[in-house]
């Protein structure tokens, strides 16, 4: 019985952790959207900033990956 409760908690936690991915999605969208609006205003400066764009996306996306990892850990490792 106790084991079942632990497992239930782990699954609920995994589901909750997946909400973090929504935050990452918002973050990545924010980065890309702002890059696009800036790039449309000054297209000549955009080409030099794609590296920054990808770094920003990677940082934002990494947090979503962390929450995914937490979900996986709760499901498979706890």
């Amino acid at each position: 019985m106790e084991g079942d409760i632990v497992q239930m908690g782990a699954y609920i936690g995994a589901g909750l952790a997946c909400m973090g991915m929504g935050g990452a999605a918002v973050g990545v969208g924010n980065v890309a959207g702002n890059f696009l609006s800036g790039a449309l205003r000054n297209p000549s400066a955009a080409a030099g900033q794609t590296a920054t764009l990808f770094i920003g996306i990677a940082f934002a996306e990494a947090l979503g990956i962390f929450s995914f990892l937490v979900a996986l850990l709760l499901m498979f490792a706890v």
Partner: protein, 255 residues
């Protein structure tokens, strides 16, 4: 590994990441040739095919393979030069090695039945620690104690500086963690999601609802596969460019 069961679907999204010996079923010792070793070797062979065999013509007007090799060379060379500066070019072979290994592992891992070495935290942690150690050593060798000025943000107001220094130190030591987990997590996530969708695919053999679910899941696998192609490249790119950024911090620590 999506086995349909009498009672329903069983998901084994993580089974694809199991490291097993190539020959026999014994324990995995450090020297055992495993599937991880096999796919690393395949990526080495692919790299040699592209960069050594592909360029053996040394043509001034390149063949297709040679121009791909030159493109990769120019891409990373420019990245190192732009981000880390001219004195970062000493580390170009090292960074190119990391990039090639990651990009080939990622793409070869997308082949059906393949194993993705970069989806394992053990592999990416070693890569990230190599970068971390290199950057730290280079920073101290090049700048001596001046490397510590990386953590002392001289443009901030004085009372804030100790707090910022603490944050900077923490973020410096978190770098290898995020660096490695980003790559492994992305690879693992994509492959696992594909496997989850794949587990829905045989539903058509078991119940009527499968007529709707199976095509959907196959479509979803296709879409995820396309996304994974993108992610495979972008993660290699991001790993490499972050290495360059860290290297720039080591070579020019002043903010």
């Amino acid at each position: 590994m999506s086995e349909a069961q009498g009672e329903g679907l069983v998901f084994h999204p993580m089974d694809q990441f199991i490291v097993k010996p190539l020959f026999g079923d014994g324990a995995v010792h450090w020297y055992t040739p495993t599937n991880a070793a096999l796919w690393m070797a395949v990526s080495v062979v692919a790299i040699i095919l592209l960069l050594v065999i592909g360029t053996r013509g040394r043509a001034v007007v390149p063949s297709r393979i040679q121009s791909v090799a030159e493109l990769a060379y120019g891409f990373i060379h420019k990245m190192v030069e732009d981000v880390a500066g001219k004195d970062g070019l000493k580390f170009f072979p090292y960074i190119f090695t990391l990039f090639l290994f990651i990009v080939f592992s990622n793409f070869l891992g997308l082949l059906p039945k393949a194993f993705t070495p970069t989806s394992h935290i053990a592999v990416t942690a070693v890569l990230a620690m190599l970068v971390f150690v290199t950057v730290t050593v280079v920073g101290f060798v090049k700048n001596g104690a001046g490397f510590l000025s990386l953590f002392w943000v001289s443009s901030a107001p004085l009372p804030l500086r100790p707090v910022l220094a603490l944050i900077e130190v923490i973020s410096y030591f978190v770098r290898p963690v995020s660096h490695s987990i980003r790559l492994a997590g992305n690879m693992m996530a994509g492959h696992a999601v594909i496997k989850v969708f794949a587990a829905f695919a045989p539903l058509i053999l078991m119940s009527g609802i499968g007529i709707a679910v199976t095509p959907l899941s196959i479509l979803a696998i296709t879409a995820m596969y396309g996304l994974e192609m993108l992610v495979a490249f972008i993660q290699a790119y991001v790993f490499t460019i972050l290495t360059c950024v860290y290297l720039k911090d080591a070579l020019h620590p002043h903010h």
